[in-house]
């Protein structure tokens, strides 16, 4: 039984209902105003219901941000152009919403018809008036004391469908909330949180199903991706990311290691309606930094998976890092890129390579390093980088690039169809990997290693890099003072937005990488930006510290 800590009272329900009514009335007006602006927009909608059709055609309503990456392709691109290279220098903060929670704020909010739906640390969920940042309802998942989030009490966001929003929580539940009230509609338990299972990602809705992937690669879980009926919360399918006995790929694990082999799937996937295929990526095998005891490629860890969204059946897989010993989770958004007849998935991987894969069959097209790499110095017959034995962690420590936190991490990249460039937050950091054998014990840390910053005189650094997917080549880079943890948004205004660890939120010219504007948020940006519009005015939003900031033109 989950309780709502902040909006349970009848008074706040009344307030919420009142605000919704006011907004509902105002909506028709504002959409008219909006359409009169320079942007091209679809006609106003009578209902706030988010249909499967609206999700499929998200590009037709750029004023809204309907899913984690903005669209099914994973582009994190906004077609809004009111804020652009000519006026971005005048951008000002319009409002901030404080979650009042500690820890890293990694979420991307959704905006639907004037209402912003977001999550915060500790599995808070909130609906705001997107004009003012004022809360309409708030929900707090009651988390048990024995949850096992490896890397902070984080959540990255929601999915929306019909009249519900969906959140996947640190206690391994999937919860549907009424989008008008924040009331729990259904609450499904996916797995045992005390054994190390948790959720941190924003779910993905495809048709009537809510898709999620589990976290827990630090606890020796057996990873999975699964789907729930949006109406009832009934589980429709589960795909284990580690094949069981008798299944293809099972022999890529030594002995019983497959049972505790990790391979979580903790970043939101993408979806190609043309072939009805959903693309998901998986994380490290467990223990993450010690290969002893799990000889083999360890399928489907660190892989790209093509699944049938209706059944969870695997169509094909591509493994980025075989038998990983450096925590190179492939949990970066698999971005769909179409170039004429070519149908690609592009991914800047944590292991330092930028991969382009044919998404119709899973065949590798190219793999080019976009950051310093030393774990692999050779490629197999298909052009896939293979690990060097010399890079394995040792008891004394072995220096390898990228370090354990990767050449990038979960923060979203963006693909800008106008510049045809792929932008990624790159991290230049090598680490010393030393083994530390750990026995498996349910719910306890199971990663078998230590890592340390290396002793080089050059401090760690990072950069926003613009890559050409057609060649893998670097078009430009903008250096950060230190490795950053912010994702990237591109917009039709010719801009890319990102943040840095020093608290700056930054706008750059997408074509050149020239900085055009920056704002000091007061705390590190650990999130990916998004954009929306209301009343004909475009906003750009990003989380930093404990606050969600919305910026607009003066």
């Amino acid at each position: 039984m989950k309780t709502r800590s902040m909006s349970a009272g009848s008074k706040s329900r009344f307030l919420a209902a009142l605000v919704m009514t006011v907004l509902g009335t105002a909506k028709a007006l504002c959409v008219v105003a909006f359409a009169a602006a320079t942007l091209s927009l679809s006609p106003p909608r009578a209902s706030a219901q988010v249909s499967a059709e609206r999700l499929l055609n998200s590009s037709k309503e750029p004023q809204n941000w309907l899913m984690y990456s903005g669209d099914y392709a994973g582009h994190r691109f906004s077609a809004l152009n009111q804020i652009n290279v000519a006026n971005v220098a005048t951008l000002v903060p319009k409002w901030a919403y404080q979650t009042m929670a500690g820890g890293k704020f990694e979420a991307t909010p959704l905006v639907v018809d004037g209402i912003l739906y977001g999550t915060g640390q500790d599995d808070r969920v909130y609906a705001l008036d997107a004009r003012s940042g004022r809360p309409i309802w708030q929900y707090q998942q009651t988390l048990p004391a024995d949850i096992r989030p490896c890397c902070g009490r984080v959540n990255r966001g929601l999915a929306i469908f019909g009249d519900k929003v969906f959140v996947a929580t640190l206690d391994a539940h999937v919860v549907a909330l009424d989008s008008k009230t924040g009331n729990v509609v259904w609450d499904a338990t996916a797995a045992e949180h005390a054994k190390g299972y948790s959720f941190t990602l924003a779910p993905l809705v495809i048709k009537n199903l809510v898709l999620v992937g589990v976290s827990g690669g630090e606890y020796g879980i057996r990873g999975f991706i699964e789907a729930y009926d949006a109406a009832t919360g009934a589980r429709k399918w589960r795909f284990y990311t580690i094949p069981g006995p008798g299944e293809p790929g099972h022999d890529s694990w030594e002995g019983d290691s497959w049972k505790i082999g990790g391979s979580p799937a903790w970043i939101t996937g993408t979806y190609d309606p043309a072939t009805n295929t959903t693309f998901w990526t998986t994380g490290n095998p467990s223990p993450s930094n010690r290969g002893e005891g799990r000889a083999g490629d360890n399928l489907y860890s660190n892989s790209l998976l093509a699944l049938d969204p209706a059944t969870g059946k695997l169509k094909w897989h591509f493994q980025f890092t075989q038998h990983d010993e450096h925590d190179y989770d492939a949990t970066q958004v698999p971005v769909m890129i179409d170039d004429g007849e070519r149908k690609w998935i592009a991914q800047a991987n944590r292991n330092g390579f930028f991969y382009v894969v044919d998404r119709t069959n899973g065949k590798l097209i190219s793999a080019t390093s976009y950051a310093k790499v030393s774990w692999s110095t050779s490629k197999d017959a298909n052009g896939r980088p293979v690990p060097d034995k010399a890079g394995s962690p040792t008891p004394e420590g072995n220096r390898v690039c990228p370090g354990a936190l990767g050449a990038t991490n979960w923060m979203s990249p963006t693909y800008d169809p106008q510049t045809k460039l792929f932008y990624v937050t790159a991290r230049e950091q090598c680490d010393i990997f030393a083994t530390a054998p750990q026995p498996y014990e349910a719910g306890h840390a199971y990663y078998g290693s230590a890592y340390f910053p290396n002793d080089e005189t050059q401090p760690f650094w990072g950069a926003l890099r613009a890559l050409d997917p057609a060649t893998g080549k670097l078009k430009w880079e903008w250096k950060h003072s230190s490795p950053a943890w912010a994702g990237v948004l591109s917009t039709a205004g010719g801009l890319v937005f990102t943040g840095d660890a020093e608290g700056n939120f930054i706008a750059l010219e997408a074509a050149s990488g020239k900085v055009l504007w920056h704002f000091q948020c007061g705390a590190s940006v650990f999130a990916s930006p998004m954009s929306f519009a209301i009343d004909g005015k475009q906003y750009v939003a990003v989380a930093a510290g404990s606050a969600l900031f919305a910026f607009g033109l003066p």
Partner: protein, 299 residues
């Protein structure tokens, strides 16, 4: 996954959550009673002296602590040397447990619970770590190797350390405050810092009471009116710099408005080689650093 351990260590500590007064009261009461019970249960190490447990603790230490405190617990770029018997934040089992379990407020030391260090350690695992730390502690005080009183004379006199370094409220501001350095750094670390300060600077000399890493890089700027200033970086980001010049004057600049901005990782501190600082005098100064901090200040 292991997403963000480093950032947990480097960045802001979580801010207290605002709650209604009544709710806060209830929580405080609950915490007090739970805390009281816990203290009783956790003031003595149940595994003290158990070599097998110390080995398990070493693995836990490598995975959770070595990132800052070094593989052998002798201190790294950020974390203090834990092989020292005298620890700045307490020496008893209960204090060690508390410091690991809950972190040390105002320092880079995070809590070993979920969302703190790595993936979180259980109470049992924390005791394993303490058992390991005890097994590598050096019993003798390192201060005994030199003459602390002479070291103090040198510090504020001939070697000029006190011109730039503060010791318990007395000295300069340009370099790191050394009041607690003796309690947290190994003799080897201190020796190297004197003999070759730029090498240490390469990895940063984080002060324990800062939640961002101040690295004392040397900066030289020329302002728009042509004034040239040299000093140390207090903090900086891509667009601004906050610095102390060699006269201890504070400056803050927007980088884009400077005529030039050059930062190096060569320390402004002179390297004290064996000619400038003979071995015996070096030992005396280190003895002063160790003695001063072991007494908790007050020299």
């Amino acid at each position: 996954m292991f997403a963000l351990r480093r950032d947990v260590l480097l960045k802001f500590s979580p801010k207290p959550q605002k709650r209604l007064a009544i709710a806060a009261g209830i929580i405080v009461l609950a915490l007090l009673s739970a805390g009281g019970l816990r203290l009783e249960a956790q003031e003595k190490n149940p595994y003290a002296g158990d070599a097998k447990v110390a080995k398990l603790g070493e693995y836990q230490f490598r995975s959770n602590c070595a990132f800052c405190h070094g593989l052998g617990a002798q201190g790294g770029g950020r974390g203090p040397d834990l092989t020292r018997a005298q620890k700045h934040h307490g020496n008893t089992d209960a204090e060690l447990f508390h410091n690991i379990h809950d972190g040390i407020a105002g320092t880079a030391m995070p809590a070993a619970t979920n969302g703190g260090i790595g993936v979180g350690m259980s109470d049992e695992e924390i005791w394993q770590v303490i058992t390991y730390i005890r097994s590598v502690e050096k019993k003798a005080s390192a201060a005994e190797t030199g003459d602390a009183a002479h070291g103090k004379e040198l510090f504020y006199g001939a070697t000029g350390c006190g011109t730039c370094h503060m010791m318990n409220g007395k000295g300069g501001r340009l370099g790191p405050d050394l009041s607690s350095t003796g309690a947290s750094r190994s003799v080897e670390y201190l020796t190297e810092s004197l003999r070759n300060p730029s090498k240490r600077l390469a990895q940063g000399i984080s002060e324990p009471l800062k939640d961002f890493s101040q690295e004392y890089e040397t900066v030289t700027v020329v302002t728009s009116d042509g004034t040239k200033l040299q000093g140390v970086v207090l903090n900086e980001d891509s667009f601004t710099v906050q610095m102390l010049d060699t006269r201890e004057q504070l400056h803050a600049f927007e980088k884009s408005k400077l005529r030039s901005y050059v930062k190096t990782r060569e320390s402004l501190m002179p390297a004290y080689d064996a000619k400038a600082l003979p071995e015996k005098e070096l030992k005396d100064i280190i003895a002063f650093l160790l003695a001063a901090s072991e007494k908790g200040g007050g020299q």
